[in-house]
């Protein structure tokens, strides 16, 4: 009760500080001193502290199970383990927005601390734009989604948290994803500031790059954690479903990846300035667009969130205000300082990065259309459809092949101008080896599909080429090489996983044996346990496959009572080469269980390669600092 009120008032103080920051930083623009005034910094710090306090008070309310707070009442329960009480703070709409606000204020404070060498006016304009976003979030929180709403009479018990969200990975997934999403707000604000200050040059690119890398890193890890959660918890035996909410996180990622490359061209060659600005603005806009689509409930998705049209209208208006403002600033105030018609050659690093960007934009537009089209169709023609994997596979795979081939050549091309001597005997030999190996792989899998064969060839080729790069003399771009290696490994593992996965589905009861192609499944026993907030039913299965040792798998069903819900936990045995995945479900009305046994090759490598991909970029960051 007390914490809720303290939290509410510190939130109001935070908004109040925003209102002070606007006039004093505007005043600071007039002064001719080099550094930003200490008063401005102070108030930005105060604002950060008040939002932080507000967030901590909300965490306290959750830990204490203070059900006089509406958010706690709706999303928590006194029987819940402490970790999930804490993670419950950001596992709901109101709390997650408060967390977003915290990240927004934290980032602008860090930005001001770390960019003292930048022009003062540029810093102040960045602060102003960031404050506009912050005020938007404050108003949204206070007027439509107040996390500190009071309930009277005080309920005895809370409504519980969705049990499917009670998972350690999911406890850290949202904060990390927000760091990525909201981190792009700094990129957005500083791009607009750079346009106004006519500061779009290589210095700016250099300073912005670290923010791009940081956001990109968090977004990559955030998406990875979401995928891992889907794989272990949803029990569908996959890691990517082209679900709208997944697509929404992938779109800013693609945009940010394009930006990560184009900013290097701006830094090194002073080219692509306008394009880089477009990407900077688009990344945050896509993140906000994602927030709108998820939070307004306009989408049909497996991810369920509270639907509230009022909230939707607020985010929509705010989103379009940001889009229109940035369009206006970009078109009216952007005066390209750098002459864009600087000489560039067809066969050069800048061209290859541009080609990379074009591919990224193609992938991005496919996903954008697939996600948005159902909404447009429903509004315009009143028809409801669902765009699924066939759409994405048809549109993305044909372009993935040239992209992979291109990626194996592009990074090695020199700046300004290069010769065609990259194509030599060694590469042709490697290519032929790839063709042969891929043919053998595909033949073994019995997949006989030309598409898949060519895809395997190109990803294998890229994989070998990225390894080959490590043996080159200069190791300036070690981070880039590691990232590219991680990416090639990721794609290769996804393809091999798709080609070699096997699946057996059957209904079975205790004591029964089931023979499938290649082995036997034996349902040995079933045990019940009472856990803190659910009943657990664990089945024991022994699986004997040809030429392999017998393995035991124990999938679990959890029956929650707050709210009434059953979740199935897959049991997964992970080895270096493959995952054995077993999940069981109740079959209503009899004592049979529906089981699904899958072998999924190279699963662990899909996760590891994504981590390599992300940390490669981070290494880049570290190198910069050391220099």
């Amino acid at each position: 009760m007390l914490f809720s009120q303290l939290g509410y008032y510190s939130l109001i103080f935070g908004l109040f500080f925003s209102l002070i920051i606007f006039p004093i930083s505007y005043k600071d623009l007039q002064f001719k001193n080099q550094l930003i005034s200490i008063n401005v910094l102070k108030f930005v710090f105060f604002q950060l502290i008040s939002v932080l306090l507000s967030f901590i008070f909300l965490v306290f309310s959750f830990v204490n199970s203070d059900f006089s707070n509406e958010t706690v009442y709706n999303n928590s329960h006194s029987a819940k383990p402490l970790l999930y009480k804490i993670s419950g703070t950001w596992g709901n709409h109101e709390g997650s927005l408060l967390l977003c606000l915290l990240v927004l204020t934290l980032f602008i404070f860090v930005f001001l601390l770390t960019s003292k060498k930048e022009p003062k006016k540029y810093q102040i304009f960045t602060l102003l734009f960031q404050q506009i976003i912050i005020v938007g979030f404050f108003l949204f929180l206070l007027f439509t989604s107040n996390p500190f709403n009071h309930l009277f009479p005080i309920p005895e018990e809370g409504l519980g948290l969705n049990p499917i969200l009670q998972d350690p990975i999911l406890a850290i997934h949202p904060p990390i994803l927000y760091l990525g999403y909201i981190g792009s707000s700094i990129i957005f604000s500083s791009s607009l500031a750079a346009i106004i200050q006519n500061y779009v040059d290589s210095e700016w690119a250099k300073s912005l790059k670290k923010w791009i890398i940081a956001s990109w890193f968090f977004l990559t890890i955030g998406i990875l954690l979401g995928s891992i959660w889907a794989y272990y918890e949803l029990g569908w035996g996959g890691f990517w479903f082209w679900d709208p909410v997944e697509n929404i996180s992938l779109m800013p990622w693609l945009c940010l990846t394009a930006l990560l490359h184009s900013i290097i061209v701006l830094e090194k060659r002073k080219l692509l300035a306008s394009w880089t600005l477009v990407l900077s603005i688009a990344t945050f806009t896509l993140s906000m667009c994602g927030t709108f689509l998820v939070r307004s409930g306009i989408l049909n998705s497996v991810h369920t969130f509270a639907n509230d049209p009022e909230r939707g209208i607020f985010i929509l208006i705010f989103l379009f205000f940001l889009i229109l403002a940035s369009l206006f600033i970009f078109f009216v105030m952007h005066k390209p300082k750098i002459r864009e018609e600087q000489k560039s050659f067809l066969f050069s690093k800048e061209t290859s990065i541009l080609v990379n960007n074009l591919f990224m934009m193609y992938f991005l537009s496919c996903i954008l259309i697939g996600t948005i089209y159902p909404i447009f169709l429903e509004v315009i023609a009143n028809e409801k459809i669902s765009v699924g994997p066939p759409f994405y596979n048809k549109l993305l795979i044909p372009f993935l092949i040239p992209f992979l081939i291109f990626m194996s050549i592009g990074p090695n091309v020199k700046w300004v101008k290069d010769n065609f001597n990259l194509v030599n005997k060694k590469l042709i030999l490697i290519f032929i080896v790839c063709v042969l190996v891929s043919y053998l792989i595909i033949n073994k899998s019995g997949y006989k599909n030309l598409y898949i064969t060519i895809l395997t060839i190109s990803s294998l080729y890229l994989f070998i080429m990225t390894i080959n790069d490590f043996f080159k003399k200069s190791q300036i771009n070690l981070g880039q090489r590691i990232s590219h290696f991680g990416f090639s490994l990721l794609i290769l593992c996804i393809i091999l996983n798709g080609v070699f996965s096997t699946e057996t589905i059957t209904n079975i009861k205790v004591g029964e044996k089931y023979n499938f192609k290649g082995g036997t499944i034996y349902f040995q026993k079933l045990n019940n346990f009472k856990e803190e907030n659910y009943i657990s039913i664990i089945g024991t299965f022994s699986i004997k496959e040809k030429d392999k040792n017998e393995i035991y798998l124990k999938p679990e069903l959890r029956i929650f009572d707050q709210p009434d819900m059953i979740t199935s936990e897959a049991d997964i045995k992970t080895t270096i080469f493959s995952d054995k995945f077993l999940v069981m479900n109740l079959v209503k009305g009899n004592n049979y269980y529906n089981i699904r046994y899958q072998t999924k090759p190279f699963m662990i490598w899909i996760w590891l390669s994504t981590i390599i991909l992300a940390f490669g970029a981070l290494l880049n960051f570290y190198n910069k600092k050391r220099k």
């Binding site: 306009i298 049909n300 939707g312 459809i385």
Partner: protein, 173 residues
């Protein structure tokens, strides 16, 4: 293209998106059936879901019943949502539900039916989407109600609701 023209085009497009999304927020989630009833269903052919035998549409509609053609796929989220309604509809003995499994992975589709139950008396595989095209479907899920003469009585775009269930059931009274 001149900068101003580009600006104007993007501006108009942005405003268009805004209006569509705003309308999308306030839309009513019910579905209106198409008004073009009374036409005869064009004939189609497809493999049987369970035994791979070819079935012609003319073999399907031979009893004096109401036939409900439901186009579905295991990857389609609204299909999952409407499935319980189809299971409910199955209880009406005067109705036969025929499934058209649209561009699906057969294993996933079978899993789907195992898990959620099978309301269909027959399922035809529509691997490349040609049956759906010949039925004039726009997307999935889509449900077409015909009588034994294959005359279209009703059409539902998107997941069918309990309201649609009553509408279909009332046709048998």
């Amino acid at each position: 293209m001149k900068k101003n023209t580009l600006f104007l085009i993007i501006l108009i497009f942005t405003i268009f998106c805004f209006i569509v999304l705003l309308k999308g927020l306030s839309k009513d989630n019910s579905y209106k059936p198409n008004i073009n009833f009374g036409k005869k269903l064009s004939s189609f052919e497809g493999k049987n879901f369970f035994n791979d035998q070819l079935i012609n549409s003319n073999e399907l509609f031979n009893e004096n019943k109401i036939y409900v053609l439901n186009i579905w796929a295991s990857w389609c989220a609204p299909c999952r949502a409407e499935h319980s309604v189809l299971m409910e509809l199955k209880k009406n003995k005067l109705i036969e539900i025929i499934g058209i499994n649209y561009k699906d992975n057969l294993t996933n589709a079978k899993k789907f039916v195992d898990e959620y139950g099978n309301p269909y008396s027959e399922i035809l595989i529509d691997e490349d989407g040609t049956i759906a095209i010949s039925l004039g479907a726009y997307g999935i899920p889509e449900t077409i109600v015909v009588d034994k003469n294959q005359i279209i009585l009703k059409k539902f775009f998107g997941a069918i609701s309990n309201k649609s269930l009553n509408e279909i059931n009332s046709l048998t009274k």
